[in-house]
């Protein structure tokens, strides 16, 4: 008995000494933080992870932020929510959550922290490639912060990754101008110095995006001179030109084949799931939440405008419910000649973040602001005639206001459902002027914008507010 007793004690003792190892388990279908960031492939994978986050940013928010509150869409009764088009946002509304943007910012911060470490580990990696990766991360980070600025105004600033639970996670909101001057613009300038001009893939945040954003930001701040100088550099880079009329549709269904798209978001439903925008504006298996507004419908369906090649290629004029936008889908007709829409879980949409026509019209806007109507007209007509329309004569757009309106309208039709319209109205200071009369028709007792211009900004989502007590809600929302 004694012997077996001792053997047992001994075995247990041996067993226990191995216990710390026995209890050491590693994740099996994820990778531990410490095992990542070793090779260039890791960087490529993390870059893809960052862009994949951009897909989440765009999926439904692209429309919410840029179109839903404008005169492009109204709610589809029963399926949509009337508050978007009647200035009735609340902190519980879809689109008010900025988490997807910060997720991308976090991934960009992670890249910026670790790329130099990988470089140190792997001196053989082409420095040009390293610099290009860094420029992508900076471009994307700048884009996300600029979206935050446009949608919510002040926002917390994170420039390093939150990668340890020991870091204080609570930050307050930083004023817009500080964000622009101390982060967004420096990021873009840094990206400019790092970027590789030979990288031209439309799915990536390359040099073209840097220029486009600098133009956009200058125009947002009404810095016309700045915008013009960046526009000139963009033109000098000879990267882009207007896509011909015949292949206009390619801007949305094959951006990589165009000469115009600057940055589009790639989508493949088989790996990414369906793009959320399909359920908002046109999917085969569900009613859209958004209906095309009369402003758009009446313009495109008027026989006078039948020459405008954008109409039939943007909205489905055959659908009586006015709830199908086919801009993002290739022509695919059934036996009766009706467009076949993909199911919302099988929809591919290549979100056009920036394209050259946008830059041309921004430049026209700058010219008009500087009373240079000749330049403005030339630029406007480039886009206008590309749509199959007759060029404006300089006699019809004789003053700066008419010219400004024509540019704005052109932008509305050209960039319909491209997340531009609401920001165009804001930039030009005409939100209340354009929207309030429409809101009064849509919902007679809705207050509109003029009564409190602070409602141009979105409310912070309640989830976001609850998670960080240091955040203060945008007024007058509660």
């Amino acid at each position: 008995m004694n012997r077996s007793f001792y053997i047992l004690i001994l075995t247990s003792a041996i067993a226990f000494s191995g216990c710390s190892k026995f209890l050491d388990k590693k994740p099996q279908t994820e990778i531990r933080t410490s095992a990542f960031w070793q090779t260039e492939d890791d960087i490529k994978a993390a870059i893809a992870g960052m862009y994949s986050g951009m897909q989440d940013v765009c999926s439904t928010n692209f429309l919410f932020w840029g179109d839903s509150r404008s005169d492009n869409f109204v709610d589809n009764p029963k399926y949509g929510n009337v508050v978007y088009c009647t200035n009735g946002l609340t902190s519980a509304i879809n689109g008010s959550d900025w988490s997807p943007l910060y997720t991308v910012i976090g991934r960009a911060n992670d890249l910026l922290k670790h790329i130099p470490q990988v470089k140190a580990l792997q001196p053989g990696i082409d420095p040009k490639a390293i610099n290009y990766y860094l420029s992508e991360a900076r471009n994307v980070r700048a884009y996300c912060y600029f979206q935050l600025v446009k949608v919510w105004g002040d926002a917390p600033l994170w420039t390093i990754p939150f990668d340890s639970i020991g870091i204080d996670p609570y930050k307050t909101r930083i004023p817009v101008n500080v964000l622009l001057d101390s982060l967004i613009i420096p990021d873009l300038l840094m990206a400019l110095s790092l970027s590789d001009p030979n990288q031209k893939t439309v799915w990536e945040a390359n040099l073209g995006l840097t220029y486009a954003m600098l133009i956009d930001i200058c125009m947002w701040r009404h810095d016309n001179a700045g915008a013009i100088s960046w526009y000139d550099k963009l033109v000098a880079s000879k990267r882009y030109s207007l896509e011909p009329t015949a292949t206009w549709k390619n801007l949305f269904i094959a951006p990589n084949k165009t000469v115009e798209n600057i940055w589009s978001i790639y989508w493949d439903w088989t790996t990414d799931g369906g793009a959320g925008i399909s359920g908002q504006i046109g999917a085969g298996n569900t009613n859209s939440t958004h209906k095309i507004s009369d402003v758009i419908w009446n313009y495109f369906s008027a026989t006078a405008n039948s020459k405008d090649i954008r109409g039939a290629q943007s909205i489905d004029l055959k659908v009586k419910a006015h709830d199908k936008t086919l801009k993002y889908y290739a022509v695919n007709l059934d036996a009766k000649g009706a467009q076949i829409y993909p199911a919302n879980n099988q929809a591919n949409v290549y979100f056009p973040i920036y394209r050259f026509a946008d830059m041309i019209l921004l430049r026209a806007e700058a010219a008009n602001d500087l009373n240079d109507r000749t330049t403005a007209l030339t630029l406007l007509n480039q886009v206008h005639t590309r749509a199959g329309l007759t060029a404006y004569a300089d006699t019809t757009l004789r003053d700066s206001a008419t010219m400004g309106n024509a540019i704005l309208k052109e932008r509305q039709y050209e960039f319909f459902a491209e997340g531009r319209r609401f920001f165009d109205l804001v930039r030009n200071g005409v939100v209340a002027k354009v929207m309030d009369p429409l809101i009064k028709i849509r919902k007679p007792d809705a207050p509109g914008f003029a009564i409190d211009m602070r409602t141009i900004l979105w409310p912070l989502s309640i989830t976001v507010l609850n998670a960080n007590p240091k955040l203060v809600q945008n007024q007058p929302y509660n």
Binding site: L8, S12, R32, S164
Partner: protein
């Protein structure tokens, strides 16, 4: 300590050897051997002289034993005349007798309601019920058998105070079991731990209820803490049967039941649909009428519940052989179950096989092998798209086209019949357990036990949606297949010490070690565009990468444990235990947790000064215990920061991104401190037993998924924060009001009262669980001082009768509008007095509310109904629950029945909400809503007007909160046992037949199918989303014992 699991081949070899031993042993017993001189025999009878059959007769300290036959006789061989025989039978007191050389022993067993000498399993050992200081409920095989349950979990309902079993009506589904309330916020963290023949498990899905010898439920910390790590929610110990010495005993059992829909619900017929259509389009007099009288799609009037349900049938067959020789015993069983559910095409089938073998070549050594195999398959019907879709779909939509083929989608509503018949959602699960154990008795007081077990579970799921049910254009079919495998091994080794010094001092001790490891791998693949709809394998279609996932995870646990107890004459009992557990799930800094507990018991009736109670109170014991238990049920790698991949694709590159839960290297055990005061009383010589317990159970350092500021890019972190406390009172009464020769009556009553409170939250911050928007599914407020299950939303006061009814004074009190006979508005009065002050109105979603709009309690007293007007609307947990179980025996007849109750809980009837919220134009509300909706000025009703634009009339409100209290006649059985003379003619020891019924009567005010349904997430309790309907079941069964 890298122990390999016991290889299967070795195990099978040992089994083979064992079977040869069995064969040999049986052969050997035929010729007279030296043991013949020690053969004994006799008869066992009860106090009234009736022979007792089925009494277990064992030789103390060995595995040898037999049972008495139907005339109470037994014979067996014993090692020597000094051997001690132990006679035991359920509901009789055990009796020990020295064997001697008697051939005609006459043993009389006393009935014992109190079972004080019953030996019960307490974890790594046994104890006499008499010596317990903790709160343990023991349930015998006999009690379970009366339920004829499809699963063991169902059979436990009402059996023990403090144990809430919520059964599900889905074929093959397991019930939800909660012991003493909810102690933490995660679903898994609230499940009890199961110990099946010493093997730790997360479930008891694979236990055949017929194999169970006893179930012990360890409720308080002092008992449960021996399983420290996962015992915070109690431990359910299941012991399966063993064979007894004697010739093979064969039993064959068959049960057939038929079930009907217990509660049919009203549904709008075609005429009512048309009424509703007219409300939807008031300006279109033709609305709801047949625009096209020849269109077959809209000319039906279906009773969907009749179409979709059928007579449910269940067939259950059991077969078992058990027996034993001198050195070994065996118990084998097979159960086959075929359960065809109420809803068409929903079914579950299972096969369970067990073989338990014990082999003891010497009195000191015992080898045990247990093999268990299970297979289950079935079709899990999609309730949302079948029985619940039936209510959503207008009754006038056709089920069939004129050519007899099934319809698919009509106006956006799928045909529930097609879904039931054609959608595939099948599963197949295989499970096997191989268990080996060696016990060695070093000296009479010291026993060593070591065992190893391997559990293997393999699962496969197959889903398919045919083209007919596709909402895509063009129609596409789609499907998926899933595979999973879990392998778990456990190793245990422990010493039991048990000795009595002198006559009065008895000491027991336990010291042991255990380790276990679990590995799970899963894969799931999705396919579209199958070339045909007959063969559903994945080579038939195109793989969809986004639906294709692989995951793998694993964890390990190591433990040391010890227990010591001391009893002085059974009058003063002290015990203490300690367990040290290490888990791979926690941060490297905090892997190990210590769990300590202690208990005291005092049998005060043994004191001289209590002698005056004699004759009334025979036995009284006071128990006090306090102890710590733990919880580690979180994600295997929640403590570690990691990068995910496989879901972040961009431009054909697979991406990597940080997991949204950040690691926490300091993560540690959640610990629950529980104190329990209890009293066990036995009156009138065991005729009335009372067990009462009061406990306080406090969980602190909860494993809490703390939300992180979204700006970090992360969603949450696992931290130890938060406190939840449960207090409760439990009362169990067992009485035998009548005990006569031919008639007796046994009644058991179990009552549980539970009160839970959330004491502390992260940063004191309340949060809303569930739906955070203002309409739709239920929402719950989790706040300090509140309870889990607090529904949160708006209180609906009524519906404005007139446009002018939306009028309030400065203090936001309702004004009364007055009208003349022709309906002209005259002005307001307040409390009968004319009101001339400012008239305020309330707005919902920035629209002024009018006649027909819902009036909500305006708690903030302002002009808008918004988020700040929400309040707690009721709680989803029952105030108390109880069961009354009766067994009446008259001669050969036994009638047993159980009433089951939950009281005071609220249910959010989301099934009705989906129908009644006017949210989707082609979903038809319930008839009540159609008839009672506000239609014109002056209508006084509780149903708001149909509005096409929403002003927030249908909020998450108490309109959909209903009382979930019920009393149910849950089980009833009338059993007839053939007189022994007759059964012997059938060459059987015993034959009985019975009529069985379940869910026969239910008294409740709840309006959907059934108020009893499991809700697993403790943060989202009591929402009925249209559960599978419950059946009322009647059956007939036959049992043969040969």
């Amino acid at each position: 300590m890298k122990k390999k699991p016991f290889p299967l081949s070795c195990h099978l070899f040992i089994l083979f050897l064992l079977f040869s031993f069995i064969a040999n042993a049986q052969k050997k017993s035929l010729p007279p051997g030296p043991e013949e001189s020690h053969r004994v025999g006799g008869t066992v009878q009860d106090a009234k002289g009736n022979p007792l059959s089925g009494v277990s007769v064992t030789v103390k300290g060995t595995g040898m034993g037999t049972t008495t036959d139907s005339s109470g006789r037994f014979r067996l061989s014993v090692p020597g005349p000094e051997s001690v025989l132990v006679f035991s039978s359920v509901s009789y007191e055990n009796r020990e007798e020295v064997a001697g050389r008697k051939q005609k022993m006459l043993i009389t067993l006393n009935e014992s309601g109190n079972n004080m000498n019953d030996v019960i399993v307490i974890g790594y050992g046994t104890a006499k019920k008499r010596d317990l200081a903790g709160s343990i409920t023991s349930i015998s095989a006999k009690q379970l058998e009366e339920r004829h349950p499809a699963s063991l979990g169902d059979a436990l309902q009402g059996m023990a105070a403090g144990v809430l079993v919520t059964t599900s009506s889905v074929p093959g589904a397991q019930p939800n079991i909660r012991i003493r309330g909810y102690s933490t916020f995660s679903s898994a963290g609230n499940n009890p731990l199961y110990v099946i023949d010493g093997v730790l498990s997360d479930n008891m899905d694979w236990v055949n209820p017929n194999d169970v010898q006893s179930v012990e439920i360890l409720k308080d910390a002092a008992s449960a803490a021996i399983y420290g790590s996962r015992s915070a929610n109690g431990v359910i110990i299941i012991t399966t049967k063993r064979g007894l010495e004697g010739k093979p005993r064969i039993n064959v059992q068959y049960l057939h039941t038929s079930g009907v829909l217990a509660h049919k619900l009203p549904q709008a017929n075609s005429k009512e649909v048309r009424m509703y259509r007219q409300e939807q389009s008031p300006n279109n007099p033709a609305a709801g009428g047949n625009m096209d009288s020849l269109n077959p799609n809209f000319n039906a009037d279906n009773d969907y519940q009749d179409v979709l349900t059928r007579l449910a049938r269940k067939n259950q067959v059991d077969f078992g052989v058990s027996g034993g020789g001198k050195n070994m015993n065996y118990f084998t069983s097979i159960r086959a179950l075929d359960d065809q559910g109420l809803v068409l095409n929903s079914y579950a089938k299972s096969l369970l096989v067990r073989s338990n073998i014990e082999f003891s070549p010497s009195p000191k050594f015992k080898y045990t092998s247990r093999l268990q195999f299970g297979y289950s398959t079935g079709n899990r019907i999609d309730e949302g798209n079948t029985i619940f879709q039936a209510f959503q779909r207008p009754a006038n939509y056709a089920l069939y086209y004129p050519d007899g083929t099934l319809t698919g989608y009509i106006s956006g509503r799928r045909n529930p019949l097609s879904v039931a018949l054609l959608q595939v959602n099948k599963f197949q699960n295989y499970q096997g357990t191989l268990f080996s154990q060696i016990e060695y008795q070093f000296i009479p007081s010291l026993r060593f036990t070591t065992n190893a077990v391997v559990n293997y579970t393999e699962g496969r799921t197959q889903g398919f949606l045919p083209k007919l049910l596709s909402s895509n254009n063009p129609l596409t079919n789609s499907g998926s297949e899933g595979f999973s495998r879990t392998v778990n091994w456990q190793y245990q080794a422990f010493f039991n010490y048990n000795r009595t010094f002198g006559k009065d001092h008895s000491i027991t001790g336990l010291l042991g070690f255990s380790a276990e490891n679990t590995q799970t791998n899963k894969a799931s693949l999705a396919d579209v565009n199958y070339v045909n709809e007959e063969i559903l394998t994945l080579n038939s279609g195109t793989l969809v990468p986004s639906g294709t996932t692989t995951s793998a995870t694993g964890n390990s646990l190591a433990s040391l444990f010890g227990r010591a107890s001391y009893s002085y004459k059974g009058r003063y009992i002290v015990n203490a235990l300690v367990r040290r557990d290490g888990s791979s799930r926690f941060g490297a800094n905090n892997r190990w947790g210590n769990f300590v507990s202690g208990a005291l018991a005092w049998r005060f009736t043994d004191e001289r000064f209590m002698s005056w109670t004699g004759g009334v109170l025979d036995d009284g014991k006071l128990r006090v215990s306090v102890g710590q238990t733990g919880n580690e049920r979180i994600g295997d790698f929640d403590a570690q920061s990691k990068y995910d991949f496989g879901t972040f694709f961009y431009n054909q590159q697979s991406g990597v991104a940080p997991n949204t839960t950040i690691g926490n290297p300091n993560l540690k055990w959640e610990s629950t401190l529980q104190s329990d005061v209890g009293m066990d009383l036995s009156f009138f010589r065991g005729r009335l037993l009372v067990v009462a317990d009061y406990y306080i159970k406090t969980t602190s350092d909860m494993l809490y998924s703390r939300p992180l500021p979204r700006e970090t890019g992360y969603a949450s972190a696992r931290v130890n924060v938060g406190t939840v406390q449960n207090r409760g009172f439990e009362l169990a009464l067992t009485g035998r009001p009548l005990v006569k020769k031919n008639f007796d009556w046994l009644v058991t009553y179990n009552l549980s009262i539970e009160r839970g409170v959330v004491k502390k939250l992260n940063g004191g911050q309340s949060f809303i669980s569930g739906n955070s928007s203002d309409a739709g599914n239920a929402a719950w407020l989790i706040r300090e001082g509140g309870a889990l299950g607090d529904f949160y939303g708006w209180r609906q006061l009524g519906v404005y009768a007139y446009d002018q009814s939306n009028a309030y004074n400065d203090n936001w009190e309702r004004l009364t509008p007055n009208f003349d006979k022709s309906g002209n508005f005259l002005g307001y009065t307040f409390k009968g007095q004319p009101y001339t002050g400012t008239v305020h109105s309330v707005y919902g979603r920035s629209t002024k509310l009018q006649g027909g709009d819902a009036e909500f309690a305006n708690l903030t007293k302002d002009s808008v109904i918004d988020n700040s007007d929400r309040t707690v609307l009721g709680n989803a947990q029952p105030k108390f629950y109880f069961a009354i179980m009766n067994t009446l025996r008259y001669k050969q007849f036994t009638l047993s029945f159980t009433f089951n109750t939950q009281w005071g809980n609220k249910i959010y009837n989301n099934a009705a909400r989906v129908l009644d919220d006017y949210g989707t134009s082609n979903i038809i509300p319930q008839p009540y809503v159609i008839y009672h909706m506000w239609r014109k000025q002056g209508d006084v009703t509780d149903v708001p007007v149909y509005r096409s634009s929403s002003v927030g009339n249908v909020r998450v409100s108490d309109r959909f909160i209903e009382d979930g209290s019920f009393i149910r006649l849950a089980y009833l059985q009338l059993n007839y046992t053939l007189p022994p003379v007759l059964s012997r003619k059938m060459f059987a020891q015993s034959v009985n037949a019975y009529i069985y019924g379940s869910n026969l009567l239910t008294w409740t005010n709840y309006t959907w199918y059934d108020p009893e349904f499991p809700s697993s997430d403790p943060l989202q309790l009591g929402q009925d989303g249209g559960n599978y309907p419950r059946r009322r079941e009647i059956g007939l069964g036959l049992n043969f014992y040969f």
